[in-house]
Amino acid sequence: MFGYYLDLALRSLKRNKALTALMVLAIALGIGASMTTLTVLHVLSGDPLPGRSGEIYYPQVDPQDVRGMYPGKEPPMQLTLIDGMNLLHAKRADRQALMTGGEVPVQPAQSALDPFYVPARYTTADFFAMFGTPFLYGHGWNAADDEAKAREVVISRELDRKLYGGANSVGRTLRMAGTTFRIVGVLDRWQPNPHFYDLDTGSYASGEQVFLPLQTMMDLHLNREGSTDCWGNGGGGTGTILPADTCVWLQLWVQLDNPVKVAAYRQFLVHYSEEQKALGRFQRAPNVRLRNVMQWLDHNGVVPDDVRLQTWLAFGFLVVCLVNTVGLMLAKFMRRAGELGVRRALGASRRALFAQLLVESGVIGLVGGFGGLLLALSGLWLVRQRSSGYAALAHLDPSMLLTTFVLALCATVLAGLLPAWRACQIAPALQLKSN
């Protein structure tokens, strides 16, 4: 039966080429636009550390003055150097890493290459194990290297390729900002998106090319970039290139692999705040937060508003395209009342007619969905041509591919329901008479 219905559907669609093309085009445009924006949204709101993000937490404490405090106020987004070091050295979590970002000039030994800047991450030993960074060669540094302010560096695969043609460069030296570093590891491709661990240096795709110990950076006064928030007489200090003690500028991430440990760590942060208050450093009552990766991204509203707006717009567009298709299909099916009347009179049941008409709308949906997929692919290509931070990530993955087809088919079958139902209500005798 299905084969016969399909044949009927194709004949009917061929009879009215312009109209069929219009319906297919409308569906394709609607599907294409909504899938393009939905894919961008999907990519941008993704999990940067699949499988791990639930165990990784971001502690916040509140070292500010009492002025401007009100209940429920969020603590600062980052930590001061003192608190960061204290929490790091307390080692109350399974793993912990303190970090900030910057830019360092690389001075290649090869005279063919001019010096150039690379984005850098200054962090501590657990960074690599905690975030599960894949190593191509070598490994990270250890906690003793942190304290020794070791001149050691882990570089990215891109930098390794640029400087050494992709060879194993572990053990070689690299000159950066006038200092000689020893390469201890080369990372494989690793670019978590969103760039969750430091949203102030760009929410998306700001892949660091060198990773070196935080204390080494402080010792060498390497350039630091990112957000610095100060209070009281902050911004001051003693002429140092590092922010003052009344400034927050560091991120701490900790790994806590079960709820008991999370509760214990939260308690530890409260105790720490009380202790610091007793010492006179903190003035406020303990005001702590402990969010995991996804909660942190959500709290910061990482997905750009524009992208959400575009997604809504595209769905509105899809709705208009579908209403358009419903109207056209209705007119088309009603016009065939005579033909349907004959079929009814010859003994076809209402259900059979209904099935036949749904097959016809399904064919339009399938073709429209395929067209929509092509449009979505070219739409994503256009998105990638824009050089905003997240643009390069916009690719269609298998799950979104499937979603496209399911959406297109559901949408058109849904759009076909009303016209098909209406057409089945025709009284066969009346149609035959009028003919």
């Binding site: 006038g178 007489n233 001051g236 002429g239 707006l309 109207g327 209705l330």
Partner: protein, 418 residues
Amino acid sequence: MKLHPILAALRKHKAGTVLIALQIALTLAIVCNAVFIIGQRIQRVHRPTGLDEGNLFLVSQQWVGAPSADSADGVEKLDAMQREDLAALRQLPDVVSVAPINSVPLLNSSWTGSVSLKPGAEIGDKTGTRTAYYFTDEQVFPALGLKLVAGRAFNAGDVQHQGFRDNRPRPVAIITKALADKLYPKGHAVGQVMYSDGSSAPTTIVGVVERMQIPSSSSFGSSFVWNSTLIPTRLDANFARYAVRTRPGQLDAVMHAVTPLLYKVNPLRVLDDDSVRPFSDIRAKAYRADVGMAVLMGVICLILIAVTAAGIVGLTSFWVGQRHKQIGVRRALGARKVDILHYFQIENLLIAGAGVVLGVLLALGLNLWLMSHYEMTRIPLPYVLAGVLAMLAIGQAAVFVPARRASNVPPVEATRSV
């Protein structure tokens, strides 16, 4: 012409009529809001920063192995290096002026704080006003092409220097008119004092600049876009930025000369492809997302209107085909061609009229929803009215071809049986 027969006929095509009206309503709602968003973005992208943008470029560079700014000695050495660069740049032919500056409008790298009329106020304190600081020297007015509207510009005696993170007292400042109006609404800011960043040392306002945007172009800065404060201080660190203004038409030539010149002054530094950027580049980067959004909205609007118009053409064509015989009867009974044409036009006007009434409500509702979820203001009535007229016009244009085909049905059709 009487409306009664048209309404009676439409009652026979309820579903089709409702769908077309609904489609017009949705299209109107989406297009109105989208065009409003486009208008807002275009306005945002085209607002002038207050600078002479066409002849301006920015040099950002970093020294390698520079002395540390930790010690007073290091700060002096860094300052000497910076002055050396400035002197060399000012010697270049076709350069109007050069000023050291920590950032420029739209660069999205900013030093923000607050100024207050009370000493010791804090950021976030209600008495303070948010502002972005530009640390520069006495050349800033000619270098950026700023316009002074009251008081005086900086002179060489005002200029200090300090380590990048030092917190020196700021004895004098020049502020924008927007900020001056906020601090001193009666308009006599020049000669008055203010307190910056919670300091208890007073800062005297020596001049007021007409307009100067802050570096941030994101929503973070949207509440204080025009509140800039100029401080006559060179910041010393292992990196520096210089704003260079050239004679008209000489921008490219001067930009090409900069990199070799600076390497000649001091080879121990890093300048890469992004180090020398014309202001137009900075502006384009800052507003790239806005432009992209406006283009996307525009394209979607056009396609949406095209789809709706095509839908009207398609549906009306069907109706014309369906009523072929009835049209023939009417013609045989004496209706003129133009009567048939008018019939379909009025029918479309009725459907579109119902659609736009619903569409206006939807558009306002959508606007309210957008206002509650996104940064958005109330849609002005002219936008909605223009949308209504446009939709009605599109409906009429779309119906014309099928209606004319209907009017060409010959009266003899009435006598033919199918």
